[in-house]
């Protein structure tokens, strides 16, 4: 098992002939999890590395069963592409673009919530269920990705794409593989924030421990702390929160990483998570150590755990 994607996932790419679409196709194909098809209006009948291209998603779904659509169009066109996928009945959406207009994202998320749709992103490089499936280019070329992400019991979710790989590498070098690792997105509002990721990891039997990388800005870490505190995720959670030294009011790359009016502060997040029983790492090095401790505790027989 794993979450979001597995060996049976059938993914498509909207915007497959563009720069990121071709790169996704390359990375997914070399991971032996190629997209089944793609869409670029006006380029129907062509192919990208042998993957068939359609003009519309409606035409594509007549020929292929689809679980997941990766949206690889510029931010201004994301909403249009997402609703096209939803209209064709696709239930899982992945949004690569960053800095999607916030009102567009708001509308997509409202629709998703009402219609049992999962949206990952915006602003994420990919999802990897090691050895099974890679959606996107997370981890880079094949020779690198196999060192960064290895199969195992750790669920990894990160606001930052780069930190997904960086932490994956720390874990894998310590012999701690992952069930699924993914970037949940760096935009100010996103579809699968920590709380939703924790719900999914909690239900996944392969996942024994969850690692989350959060950063200043937004409410998502606090929301996760509330969820854990209320018993929503009983698996141990290890967190690293970045931005202790960041100055309030500045934007740090990610649209979401912005502290305003005392909202989304480092201290607020760390206190909330700690109070919920989350193990906080102060350096990256501590992440694998804390994961190992947590794994040792959960693998104790029930009697041992009761002391």
């Amino acid at each position: 098992m794993s979450i979001l994607v597995d060996a049976h996932t059938r993914a498509i790419i909207q915007g497959i002939t563009g720069e990121s679409g071709v790169r996704f196709t390359t990375r997914m194909t070399e991971y032996d999890s190629p997209p089944v098809a793609g869409v670029t209006p006006g380029k129907g009948g062509q192919n990208v590395m042998g993957i068939p291209v359609y003009d519309t998603v409606a035409e594509l779904v007549r020929e292929h069963r689809v679980d997941f659509s990766s949206i690889n169009v510029p931010p201004a066109f994301v909403k249009d592409a997402v609703f096209e996928a939803l209209a064709a009945g696709i239930k899982k959406i992945f949004i690569y673009a960053e800095r999607v207009p916030i009102q567009d994202t708001m509308e997509m998320l409202a629709y998703a919530e009402q219609n049992d749709v999962i949206i990952v992103g915006p602003n994420t490089p990919g999802i990897v269920s090691p050895g099974k499936f890679r959606l996107g280019g997370l981890g880079g070329a094949r020779e690198y990705v196999d060192q960064i992400f290895t199969p195992g019991p750790v669920g990894l979710v990160s606001r930052s794409g780069g930190m997904t790989s960086t932490i994956g590498y720390y874990l894998s070098q310590s012999g701690l593989g992952q069930s699924t690792a993914f970037g949940c997105g760096g935009d100010a509002i996103i579809g699968t924030p920590f709380k939703k990721a924790l719900e999914l990891f909690e239900r996944d039997p392969e996942t024994k421990v969850v690692v989350m990388f959060g950063e200043i800005g937004t409410h998502y870490e606090e929301e996760a702390a509330e969820f854990i505190g209320a018993g929503g995720c009983k698996k141990p959670v290890v967190a690293f929160i970045a931005g202790k030294r960041a100055l309030p009011g500045f934007r740090y790359g990610h649209a979401g990483a912005l502290v305003q009016r005392g909202f989304g502060t480092y201290e607020g997040k760390v206190e909330a998570l700690r109070a919920a029983g989350v193990r906080l790492a102060a350096t990256l090095q501590e992440i694998p150590e804390l994961v190992r401790q947590a794994l040792a505790e959960v693998s104790l027989p029930a009697a041992g755990r009761l002391r």
Binding site: G140, S160, G162, R245
Partner: protein, 403 residues
């Protein structure tokens, strides 16, 4: 992006939200002319974004044109935190019967549209929010459903309004909603929303926060000549301006630079926004104080990396330099070329540590070594190990200097 008040009011006026008559001035003579034209007592308001503007003397009253000139002379050039007042808004003074608070915003927690309305508007609103939250009526509106004037009237009733104000305030909320959508705003706030002695509603202030990412589709911004600028709590420093130039010259990759701590001891360039934030915290943990933040990522060409490294290496007084990446997908051999070029040109006498991990990092490592960077580290080196190495090198150099 926050707009100054007069810009916000221009947008309000386009949505039919009543605003006081008035105009913006950059010189006392201009302010005097505006006041004369208005022909009534005026308010002269500093166009700065700093909070508590009124309490800090940023809003003055003037009974005649000469007093308006004097008031503007007093405000122009004044500093509010790091912000200098460059313009004043001169507008008719309102006869206030009642002050309300009205706002509409994208709720970042619930992902919908939040309306706020209170009969206790004015300078004390922050206190009301904190101490009397029951005096603020809230409504979370589903984004896919229309917001109509009746929703506004219901809110007006819930807030306790009576008579004619129910419809007029309901209408203002409806107009605020339309403005939020049309201008792709993140926040529109009117405080106070004044009911005048004659019973008319007027937006006496305007807080408008737009979505930079949606500005391309908002026609009004172009028509009014409103530039989209990055939001900053203070004006950019000379090095920040230089970095903005470096970033603009080539569209490939980003250089996102910020001056953090003038009393710091090291200069830093890092790859990726999440990693760059993380690195600052790790440095803090090891007692190193970065002067700056500089994210150089998104596959920049070597020339852009070179300029970023040169900018940071040239910061006076730094006693160490660090270039580091997490595990990244950009071609690091290109990154390494830029680093080496800057290094060879400037020949820094301070300790330099470089660690690159990810795509083509082996080639990058060789380039760094061949380029004379003595303390280059491959991907296997932990971030913490490299930071510790820099600290040790800096301590050694300090000891040598002392002896």
């Amino acid at each position: 992006m926050r707009l100054p008040e007069y810009r916000g009011k221009q947008l309000f006026a386009r949505s039919g939200i009543p605003v006081p008559r008035g105009s913006v001035a950059a010189e006392p003579a201009q302010a005097e002319a505006i006041a004369r034209e208005l022909g009534v007592p005026v308010m002269v308001k500093a166009q700065v974004l700093a909070p508590s503007r009124s309490a800090r003397g940023g809003i003055l009253s003037a009974n005649d044109p000469a007093a308006a000139a004097k008031a503007s002379a007093q405000l122009l050039g004044c500093s509010f935190d790091a912000e200098v007042c460059r313009a004043v808004l001169v507008e008719e003074r309102l006869e206030i019967a009642q002050e309300l608070y009205a706002a509409v915003t994208i709720d970042p927690v619930r992902h919908d549209i939040l309306f706020l309305l209170s009969l206790r508007g004015g300078a004390e609103i922050e206190k009301i929010f904190a101490q009397h939250p029951q005096d603020v009526v809230r409504h979370n509106h589903p984004p896919l459903e229309p917001f109509l004037p009746f929703h506004g009237r219901q809110l007006a009733r819930a807030a306790g309004l009576q008579g004619a104000a129910i419809s007029s305030v309901g209408q203002i909320l409806f107009q605020l909603y339309q403005a939020l959508r049309e201008f792709q705003a993140k926040l529109l706030e009117i405080n106070p929303l004044v009911i005048t002695a004659k019973g008319q509603l007027v937006a006496a202030d305007a807080i408008v926060q737009l979505d930079e990412d949606a500005a391309f589709r908002v026609r009004a911004l172009k028509e009014l000549g409103i530039p989209m600028e990055e939001e900053r709590p203070r004006p950019p420093t000379p090095r920040e301006l230089e970095a903005i130039e470096i970033d603009k010259k080539d569209y490939r990759g980003v250089v996102h630079y910020q001056d953090l701590d003038a009393a710091g001891n090291i200069g830093v360039v890092s790859v990726g926004s999440g990693f760059s934030l993380t690195l600052l915290d790790i440095l803090d943990r090891y007692g190193l104080r970065p002067v700056n933040f500089c994210d150089c990522s998104g596959s920049p060409p070597a020339s852009k990396v070179y300029q970023a490294v040169k900018l940071v290496l040239s910061i006076p007084g730094i006693r160490g330099f660090l270039f580091m990446s997490g595990v990244v997908t950009q071609d690091l051999s290109v990154t390494a070329q830029g680093i080496v070029q800057a290094f060879q040109e400037l020949r820094p006498q301070i300790p330099v540590v470089v660690r690159l991990a990810g795509n083509r990092d082996r080639e990058a490592y060789e380039l760094l070594q061949a380029g004379g960077i003595a303390h280059a580290f491959p991907r296997e080196a932990l971030v913490e190990t490299c930071v510790e190495k820099l600290r040790t090198l800096m301590q050694e150099q300090a000891q040598q200097a002392a002896s």
